[in-house]
Subunit: 395 residues, 2 copies
C-alpha cells in the first residue's frame, strides 16, 4: 500500500537527527570520537547497582513493578524535593514530577503549549534534543545572541519587545553544545526581564552537578520561581539508560503536564524510579558524584590544554567550567563541515556546530567536542589529529 | 503570571481520564473495586526478578545503563521476534521496535499520522487509553458497530465507503472494555476489506496471552501484514511497571515511528529492556504464563457465575474467553451512571460503560467489571452487592 499519504502535516518539520547519523558513522573502529554526547560508562555506579536492586526488591516488593501515578513514584519525588531544596528551589514532593528522561518533559511542554506558528525563543546555538521535541508541534524559532557569558540579556529584551513568545528555552549552565555558563549577573537581569514581560522560561539543567572549577551559580528558577519550569535529569549523575528526568513547575502547568504525559506513556518505569529513590535516599549520590567529577575534570583539562597547544591561530575555545563539551570557533570563512571528511580520514570525529543552530547560515565555523568518552591521552591524540586535519585543508 | 494563555489549541480536546478520577475515589478502604484495569501484583514473577537482575548485571554490565538505540535493545528485539513468529507474525529482530508501554506507540502513531480533523475509525466501545493518546492530535472519530463477535464487518465496510479514514484502531482479542473477541471468520473479512480499501489498521493486542478457554485466533496482522501495525506489551505477562511495549509495522511506518519516538523519550529504559530480554530468553515466560492464567481463570469464572446468579432479568454479560474484564449491559432505560453512587454506598465500585464511547449518547446502560484484582470469594460478594444496588434503584 501507499504509506506516504498517512503522514500528518507536522512530519514536514521532523527530520532524522543529524548528529544521530554522524554517530552511526563514527562507531567505526579506529576512529576516536569526540562527536558523542553521552556519559562515560565508567561514570555509572556499577558497584552499587546490585545493592540498590536488592534494597528496592526488599522495600517495595511488587509495588516496584506495578502501574504507578503519572506524576511519579512518591519516594523518588520526596528525595528530589530535598535535592532541589539544596539548590535553593522550593518544591514539595508533590510539586516535583518525574518524566521519561528530560526529553519527556520537553515533549510534554511543547505538546501543552505550542500551536502551529507559535514562537519559541532559543539561544543560538541550542540543544538539538529540544528541537527534536519541539519541531513536531510546528513552532517558529526566534534565535537570541550568546557570548562567552551565555545568553545576552539585551537580545532577550529585544526579542520580547518585538515578538509574542510562547516560552523561552535555555540551558544556562555548561550548555550543550557550547559548555558556556550564564553569569549570575545576567541570571538576575534575565529573571527581571521575564517577570516584567510575564513570559515563561524553560530552564533545562542537566549538567550543573558536573562542575570542575569555579563557584556554583543559582538556577534562574530561584530568582523567578513563578515564571520558570526547571528541568533536570539523573542521566549524568546516575545512569542515562534508566531514563529518569524530573521538573519543578508552577501548579497550573504541572497539572497540565501530567495530563499530557498520561496520554504519552502513562508513567515512567516504577522500578527505575525506585532504584533512583534508593540511590538518593542512601546518600550514594553524594559519595559517587565526586568520583564522576574526578573522572571528567582531567579530561576537560586535557582537551583545553591540547586545544591551546595544537589549534592553529584564529581558532578559539569557549571558556567552560563543567559539563561534557568544549566549543571551538574557527576564523571567519572556516567551514567545519568541510573539515569533517578530512578529520574522519585522520581518525577523529566531531560534530560541526552548524547543526545546533536553527538558522542554517549560522555557526558554519564552529565545532562541538565531547571529552567524557575518552581518556586524557586519547583526547590529546584526537585533538592533535584534528589540528593536523585543519592544517591540511588550510593549505 | 497568567498561565492560561500558554495552552495550545489542542488542549481543548484533552481532559482528565474519567476512569482515573473514579479510581481515586475507590481507593477508599471498605470498597471492593471492580473498577480497576490493572493486573494483580500476584501475577508478577517476583520469585525470579532478583535472578533476572543478577543475570542482566553479569551479562550486559554498564551497557544496561547506557543510552541505547531508539528502536530498542537488540537482545529484546531478538526475543520478541521469536515470540511473534510463534503467533505467525513474521518480523525479523530489526523489524520489532520497543516503546515505553503500548501507550508509547499509540502516541507515536497518532503523532505521525493525525492532522487536525483526520478521521480515525474505532469500535464502539473502545479502549480509553487510545483516546488519551489520539485526542491531543485533534482527530475526528468514526464509531463502528460491535456485537458479541467483535467488530461488525459491514460497519467497517460502510465506514470506509463513506469516510476517508486515516487508520482503524481495534482491540480484536479480549477487548478492553468488553472482553469480546473478534471471530476468525470476521478477521478474514476485515483483512479483505482493509486490503481492498488500502487502509491502515492499528491492531492493539495486550491480552491475547490471557486465554482461559477456547482456541487461539490469529492476529489480523497475519492475514494482512502490509496493512497492519501490530502492537503488544509485556505489561500483562511480566510487569506493567517496567513499561515495555512493542510493535511490528511496515518498514516505512516503522522508520517514521522511530523518528517520532526520538523526540518524545529518546529510548525506553535499557535496564528494563534487558530484564525483559532475560525473562524471554531464559524461558521464564512459558513457565510463568500458566501461573497467571491459573490465577485469573477462576476469577473470571467466579464473576461469570455470580453475574448469572445475582443479576436481575434484563441484564446480560458479553461472552468472554480471556483478558481482564466482563461487560454487563442492562435493560433499555437503565443508567449505569445513576447506579454508581448507590454501588459505592453498598461497597462496590465499577466503571460506567459510557466512558468508553466517543458518542456521549451511547452505552448508558453498560458497565465494565474487572476481575483480576480480587479473589473468587470477594468477587462473588462484590457482584452480589452490585445486584443489591441495582435492585434498590429499580424499586
Amino acid at each position: 500500500m501507499d504509506y506516504q499519504h498517512l503522514l500528518a502535516d507536522r512530519t514536514n518539520l521532523m527530520q532524522a537527527n543529524a548528529i544521530r547519523e554522524i554517530l552511526k558513522v563514527v562507531a567505526n573502529p579506529g576512529i576516536i570520537s569526540l562527536a558523542g554526547g553521552i556519559p562515560s560508562p565508567d561514570s555509572f555506579p556499577m558497584d552499587i547497582i546490585q545493592e540498590l536492586s536488592d534494597k528496592v526488591l526488599k522495600k517495595y516488593k511488587s509495588n516496584a513493578f506495578q502501574y504507578d501515578l503519572t506524576e511519579g513514584f512518591l519516594p523518588l519525588r520526596e528525595q528530589l524535593s530535598i535535592l532541589l531544596e539544596q539548590k535553593g528551589i522550593h518544591a514539595l514532593p508533590d510539586a516535583v514530577n518525574i518524566t521519561s528522561g528530560s526529553q519527556g518533559v520537553l515533549d510534554a511542554i511543547a505538546k501543552l503549549t505550542i500551536s502551529k506558528g507559535d514562537k519559541i525563543a532559543l539561544e543560538a546555538p541550542t540543544y538539538l534534543g529540544a528541537l527534536s521535541a519541539f519541531n513536531p508541534y510546528e513552532p517558529d524559532y526566534i534565535r537570541m545572541d550568546m557570548d562567552d557569558e551565555g545568553l545576552v540579556p539585551d537580545s532577550l529584551e529585544h526579542t520580547l519587545q518585538t515578538h509574542d513568545i510562547k516560552f523561552i528555552y535555555l540551558v544556562p549552565t555548561f550548555q550543550n553544545p557550547t559548555g558556556r555558563t550564564l553569569t549570575l549577573e545576567r541570571r538576575r537581569k534575565i529573571a527581571e526581564i521575564i517577570q516584567r514581560h510575564n513570559v515563561l522560561l524553560v530552564e533545562d539543567d542537566p549538567y550543573s552537578a558536573l562542575r570542575y572549577k569555579g563557584d556554583p551559580v543559582p538556577a534562574i528558577k530561584t530568582l523567578a520561581p513563578d515564571h520558570v519550569v526547571y528541568i533536570s535529569t539523573l542521566s549524568k549523575v546516575f545512569a542515562p539508560g534508566l531514563r529518569i528526568g524530573f521538573y519543578a513547575a508552577p501548579k497550573f502547568i504541572r497539572e497540565w503536564l501530567v495530563l499530557v504525559k498520561q496520554g504519552v506513556d502513562l508513567h515512567t518505569s516504577t522500578f527505575n524510579q525506585a532504584l533512583a529513590a534508593e540511590y538518593l535516599e542512601g546518600g550514594y549520590l553524594s559519595t559517587h558524584l565526586p568520583r564522576i567529577i574526578d573522572l571528567y575534570n582531567p579530561r576537560q583539562k586535557a582537551m583545553q590544554d591540547a586545544l591551546n597547544r595544537f589549534l592553529p591561530k584564529g581558532f578559539t575555545c569557549a571558556p567552560s567550567d563543567g559539563g561534557m563539551f568544549l566549543w571551538v570557533t574557527g576564523p571567519k570563512g572556516f567551514k567545519a563541515l568541510s573539515l569533517y571528511d578530512k578529520a574522519i580520514e585522520n581518525g577523529v570525529a566531531f560534530v560541526p556546530g552548524q547543526f545546533f543552530y536553527t538558522n542554517p547560515e549560522e555557526g558554519l565555523e564552529t565545532m562541538r567536542l565531547n571529552y567524557t568518552m575518552a581518556d586524557e591521552a586519547t583526547i590529546e591524540i584526537a585533538v592533535e589529529k584534528l589540528a593536523t586535519a585543519i592544517h591540511s585543508i588550510q593549505k
